[in-house]
Amino acid sequence: MADLLGKDYAPPDIYGKVTGRAKYAEDFRRDGMLFCRLLKSPMPHCRVRGVDATAALAMDGVVAILRADEVPEQAGPANNILTDEPHFVGEPILAVAAVTETIAQDAIDAIVLDLEPLPFCVDPLESLRPGGPNARTDGNTVVSGEVQERKWTEEDFAAAGEGQLPMGEPGTEWSYGDIDAGFAEASIILDETFVTAGTSHHSMEPRTAMAYWENGKCYLHASTQSQSFVHPGIAAYIGIEPEDLVYIAEYCGGGFGSKGGPYPLLSIPAHMSRKVQKPVLMRISRSEEYFLGSARPGFQGRIKMGFRDDGRITAIDVYIVQENGPNQGGGDMNAAASAISIVYTPLNMRYRGMSVLTNTPPRGAQRGPGQNQMATAVEPLLDKAAKQLGLDQVAIRHINAPTHESLYGSNRSGITSAYMREALEQGAERFGWEERRARSGERNGSKVRGVGVGQAFHSAGASGFDGLVVLTPEGKLNIHSGVGNLGTYSYSTTSRVAAEVLKCDWENCEIVRGDSSRGLPWTLGQFGSNTSFTMTRTNFAAANDAVRKLKEIAARRLGGSASDYDIGNETVFARGNPGRRLTYAQAAQAAIEIGGEYSGHEVPDDINALTRRAVAGLAGTGLIGVARDNLPQTGMVPALAAGFIEIELDMETGGIEILDYLGVADCGTVLHPQGLSTQIKGGGVMGFGMAISERHVYDRHWGLPAAVGFYQAKPLSYLDVPSEMDWHAVDEPDPNNPVGSKGIGEPVMGCSAAALLCAISDALGGHYFNRIPVMADMIINVASERSQSHGPLQVNTQ
């Protein structure tokens, strides 16, 4: 074997990043390129009754205005491209193209809108009240893709009790076991209301896009995490067939879920370019990224948990009201409930959820969508229970942790592997948990120590996608990757599986990617912690297809049967007679000559149309290995992570110093240690921000967002996080993956957020905020025994 897996290496795209040669969407130029800017809604909900653009169009250098009725209308509550009924502040109403951006903005300033304000809402509970405002004219919730109106009764609200979440009729629910019996069996029961903020993604690269048309095809440069997966959707937004789109996304400057799938905004320059017959660049600004980018859905929730004396959870009854933005939004609440079922394996469980529309930015997946909110809500409560039961924080997690036999979600489906107990054990050992726990509560002047442990989960793998490799007559292995480049290097590391199977020198391999015209297979997108599992399988499948073809070609050319041959040193040779051999270069040349499936002129029936087109473009260039991943998958693939933290909290200033952090991953076999390290630590940093700093604030009266710049929204920087962090992996193979791998990107964030929140509560002697983010003001209020400024269920305050 090439022995590539489990080793550190320099991924090919890293050189472009350190030299500045890496080209992101805003780095492309075309002759005659125009600039396009957006006129965005100043109101949270309104109807555009008229647009007077006379003065704008009269300006020198203004070329065109694009209106909502010129772009494909999106059905129901889908995110719009442009709209005449904006549902949030900053939703694009129209676009202006001009020879400079300044002129485009001047034109926008000169456009007079006739707007009719409509009712709006930035708090789900307000919308659920009888007579409460709806975020959309046709309702306040989305059920099966359709907008409906749901209201709870006055009795529902009255029954909740002070500061507790009312629980009216849910939009969705499921259960297993018998929760009443479960609670009856419990020694202690917690019943807690919580709020999690719906924070922005803060990707460093705003969602800029540039488009032009040539020979009937649209060329689009944009910022997406995924490549092939977004292709059909983008084509649909532009209103063309997928084969008429050339999509270039070699680099993505951060997405964190917000650029995982296709999004409508990136089609605006394509539409404008078609209209003006010139290339169009649409730069998106930082404030626009906050206005119209994306955000994680927020939760207002209530959870009732029953514990036995030994800490085992007998029952969980959870209700989540999801703040979902104005459109289709995310499925976070359902994912959150499923996460509970696997992270805490409650013996009995019920979930009820109600997703409510608000006039805030469109919501969508953000790193650990649902699972991470849940981790921040539940983990501190485990500590609360542990304290009451006299148990260690690690112990109460250990007894409830999933094993290989645990079942997942409402379907009670099986899982492929779970090493959470090992993660907790090894993490506690490596972190020196016992010793640090003994220091908990120690005072040093105004500072007090706190320790915490947190856990998180995300499903981490899928199957059934396509792999594609080409052995060229020059003897190179081209590994075609359609997954995208989110920045984790997993596109590259998973490609190394193909090199490993084909026993190729890595220096002799090229990863072909980033541009749909280069022949890229259909795969899942780069999101959901799935790449490591999914793409190792597709590359394994395609490489094995190439191995089979190598052997068959050798048998044709050199005699005998395919089973007589083996591969090594980039040759295919007869076992027992290594001199009878073809180099890969010779085999590739032979494949071209033989044709058929060997040269890509015939393809398997079960591959996707997009892969089929990719192969058609490559046919005759070498030996084509192409296959759908038909390897068995026997269950949900859990990525699990645990975080351990020690902090010093200043009771006088609310300041938090993170002294040490250790993240531990159950991600199967480790393929790229350095890559895993940076995921664990980077996820850790993002989790810290989720726990204590990242803000989503709205003025309820005007529906205005307060956090539209980095300094207002507050992602963390160097001085806010430990200078050095530690990581560890359980490193046990997942049986459903040919190289033992599972994903990990998402839970490594949730576990750090949870651990930090637990440590804050620990330092405060067991005060539980039941809310994120926990900011300095909240800590100061607790330390000085003052009430909090926000109500217990209030959202968008912090």
Binding site: V18, P42, G50, V62, V63, I65, V112, M204, G254, R283
Partner: protein
């Protein structure tokens, strides 16, 4: 189709704007009543504010009385509701009922803007910039930032715009070896200075700068969008202080955000560059 299109002046030889035929004639265009409606909106707020600060609201009261006399008849019905127990829903219904529209531009008051002056009175627009050791002649607008000049005039797109507000550091460049946010530096300011961008760090033979190599070795970048700026701040640090402690490095890098959270790996890279330089 309601859209508008016209030719680019001088672009295709046709200098006269041609409006699409479906543009509504002026008489039929919606009448903007922005002045009245924006006053109306703010009258609402003022009156609420007055009530809230009843004890010390002499200014607020005066404003409201002024509004009463100048407000248009079309809004008086809705306005009356503001004196009673007012809520947002009432207000919106009131607006809808009275048929008042609001100008998008004046919803929260437009900032003052001035048109582009016919000519620039101060600086000479054509200037020489020394970038990465090369002198480049370039036509620069008075308000142009260095990031824009580098990216859009000189083709140096390694310098990234993450926020264009001097917050994120993706645009960091060196000016006489000191790190600055190029998005917030006027190009006219750096005429006589040595500008170094990420493109200017490699040796002529393509050898990476020690910081770049160390960032590769330590897997510093994730998505890579902040990386150019991280590299430049690290280089600035090492030029000023070739032997920093990790804490000094951390403080020197604190103006460069990384949403991927790769701070630990970047710092490892800086310290590796220190030890290998």
């Amino acid at each position: 189709m309601v859209g508008f299109v016209k030719s680019v002046r001088g672009g295709d030889g046709n200098d006269s704007p041609k409006l699409a035929p479906d543009v509504p004639p002026a008489a039929k265009r919606p009448q903007s009543v922005s002045a009245e409606t924006s006053r109306y909106l703010f009258a609402v707020v003022r009156s609420r504010y007055t009530a809230y600060h009843a004890s010390s609201a002499s200014d607020g009261s005066r404003d409201v009385s002024e509004m009463d006399s100048s407000d248009s008849p079309g809004t008086t019905v809705a306005f009356a509701t503001t004196h009673s127990s007012w809520s947002r829903r009432d207000f919106i219904k009131g607006v809808i009922a009275s048929g008042v529209s609001v100008s998008g531009m004046s919803y929260f008051g437009a900032g003052c803007t001035t048109p582009l002056p016919a000519q620039t009175g101060g600086v000479e627009r054509l200037l020489s910039l020394t970038v990465n050791g090369q002198v480049r002649r370039v036509d620069v607008l008075p308000g142009e930032t260095l990031a824009m000049t580098l990216r859009y005039k000189l083709g140096l797109t390694g310098t990234k715009l993450g926020c264009d507000r001097g917050e994120c550091g993706a645009c960091t460049v060196l000016i006489d070896d000191v790190n600055y946010y190029s998005c917030s530096t006027l190009t006219h300011r750096v005429r006589d200075r040595e500008i170094t961008t990420v493109e200017g760090l490699e040796s002529p033979d393509g050898t990476l700068h020690p910081v770049q190599q160390a960032f590769v070795d330590e897997l510093g970048p994730q998505c890579g969008f902040c990386t150019s700026g991280q590299v430049m701040s690290a280089v600035a640090l090492l030029r000023a202080n070739p032997n920093p402690t990790r804490q000094e490095a951390r403080e020197a890098m604190a103006g460069n955000l990384c949403r991927c959270g790769a701070y630990d790996h970047y710092l490892n890279g800086v310290m590796r560059a220190v030890s290998e330089a």
